[in-house]
């Protein structure tokens, strides 16, 4: 049988997932973080996640502030540390779905150490990193992902530092699921996040977001749609059939799923060891 059934209960209404009493939110008009938030909640909805069992752990930054709007168990932690908080939470409460929301500065600069070890450990946590190439919350300073030559408040002559490729970093550190998508294609981003959350183990998803108000303005990148369309020009969709190399464009970035690997989930492995110890073994 091949039929598609849609009931109104299945329909995604973002208001079911938001703390609407906190509206209006703080984000600037056109900020990509809001789109990412929508995609994330849509993914949770389609996965049938119970809000009561959903834990959102976020860091500090505009990215981290988005967590508070989600109608779930939300933990807004310290700058760079959400993965470390999430590690304790997930180990203590394996029954919770734990999703981390972090920024490029939060996860790659101050929190870089926690990120690589979370990738290596492979606890069942999904990390959504909102990469807007800048420190949005603090007013637009350079970040580890700021493209070459871009102007920020701390690179008045244009950025001279090389960028971090977060997905390759996550892959190298051992993340068992790694993917990247831009906010341009919300359903594609939603599907990627769905797969990441459903994946058993540590999932790292980089969302190419945009800080229209601060980064976009400073670099004359135009309105939010214009910025996103510029992103599209340098995207190399790994999953699409018409994959083409675009060497003539600066900083092209591939999108799609880069790593999809079955590896023992750390929490489950640890609990099995405990059972062996309790039965009188050495746990080995």
């Amino acid at each position: 049988m091949n039929e598609i059934r849609v009931t109104s209960a299945d329909k995604f209404d973002i208001r079911d997932w938001l703390r609407t009493e906190l509206m209006p939110h703080f984000m600037c008009p056109g900020c990509g973080h809001g789109i990412a938030l929508r995609a994330l909640l849509w993914a949770c909805h389609e996965l049938g996640i119970d809000k009561d069992k959903l834990a959102i752990v976020s860091g500090i930054g505009c990215s981290g502030r988005t967590g508070a709007y989600i109608d779930a168990n939300t933990f807004h932690t310290t700058h760079g540390r959400p993965l470390a908080f999430a590690t304790g939470l997930k180990l203590a409460r394996p029954d919770l779905t734990v999703i981390v929301i972090t920024g490029d500065g939060d996860s790659l600069a101050i929190g870089g150490n926690h990120l690589i070890h979370a990738c290596r450990r492979n606890l069942d946590i999904t990390c959504m990193m909102l990469n807007n190439e800048v420190y949005g919350m603090t007013g637009g300073q350079v970040s580890p992902t700021t493209s070459a030559q871009r102007y920020t408040t701390t690179t008045p002559a244009g950025n001279m530092e090389p960028v971090f490729d977060a997905c390759r970093l996550a892959e190298g550190a051992g993340a068992s699921f790694v993917g990247r998508e831009a906010t341009l294609q919300i359903p594609t981003l939603k599907d990627l996040l769905k797969e990441a959350i459903a994946h058993e183990g540590f999932s790292f998803v980089e969302v190419i977001s945009d800080c229209t108000e601060i980064f976009g303005r400073k670099n004359a990148l135009g309105s939010s749609p214009e910025m996103v369309l510029k992103q599209k020009k340098v995207m190399i969709p790994e999953r699409s059939d018409n994959r083409i190399a675009q060497p003539f464009r600066p900083n092209p970035f591939p999108t799609g799923v880069f790593v999809r690997q079955e590896r023992p989930e750390y929490g489950a492995a640890y609990r099995q060891m405990c059972e062996r110890v309790q039965k009188g073994g050495k746990g080995r």
Partner: protein, 385 residues
Amino acid sequence: MNAHAGKNAPVLRNIQGNAACALGAIAAGCRFYAGYPITPSSEIAEKMAAELPKVGGTFIQMEDEIGSMAATIGASLGGVKAMTATSGPGFSLKQENLGYAAITETPCVIVNVMRGGPSTGMPTRPAQGDIMQARWGTHGDHPVIVLAPHTVREIYEETIRAFNLAEALRVPVVVLFDEIIGHLVETVELAQPAPEELTERKWATGPREEYLPYAAEEDMIPAMARPGDGYRAHTTGLTHDERGFPTQDPQKVTAFMDRLLGKLERHHDLIERNELVDTDDADVLILAIGTPARAAKSAIRELRAEGVKAGLFRPVTLWPFPAEAFRAVATGKKAVIVPEMNMGQLVLEAEQLAPEGVAIRGLNRYDGEAITPAMIVKAVKENVA
């Protein structure tokens, strides 16, 4: 069958201070430990790594002390009693998230086995250089309780009490002792506390619509929402209102800070614990914690044998400092001697609280060696005349 045999029967054993700390934590119901190796505290982590799996708990060695403090708080937010242990350099790194535990009112226990500082200092030598850091280490006005045991048995008991206070008052509790006591082996009785001697935090019950995560009744302690219980609460290190959401409303901020700090004042009787040795008739009082307090006890015996009346005031709960009790005991004494293995920290508290006419004398050692009874005997004799 022996009348004392059974689950709660005390067991006599030779045990090291650090191991007693780990066993105290487990006895208190600690089921999560996150740490990072550092001398002279590593035995605590090693013991927890071996013991926690037996009781269905979780041990994790994190990538650093910032991460271990974060993971400890994360586990506690999940509803599990959690602890971390470290020494000076790691204690510095834990300060960031210790502040997060304070403002979010997340119960947790942080052990600091003190070594010589500053910086890497003297990793294997004892010191008491973190007395002030334990109170003021993280930024901003914040509540913290610091317990300072001076024997192996007391490490066990105070670690249990640390968990009880953390749970009861939703506050980070530091257990502070020096390397000598951490590595000291004593023959002790480690009694398993009865269930009623263990405190569990107040969990939110009742309808979600009526629940305010940071609203408190007369006891000033809000009920905590356990993830999964349906409250879907928000926790943030930003200054928050009763709903748990960020606020900068001056009135709400003032009310929040007053309660955050005020709750320790409100539960003063539960927190304070002092030991008074021969203080009533003493001419000279000694104020000390940890190893110098042990030395003081021998010194007092020696001095009294020679007819010199000395006494000891030992705050077992170091912070909040027992100001009134100290003043009461110190009043009328000729002098208060403050022996400490640092360049003068506890003495500042004594100076600030000194009753009229009572001389305050610091006695300091910061060469990585212990304060000896002889040093205290000498100092008392110099001040008794």
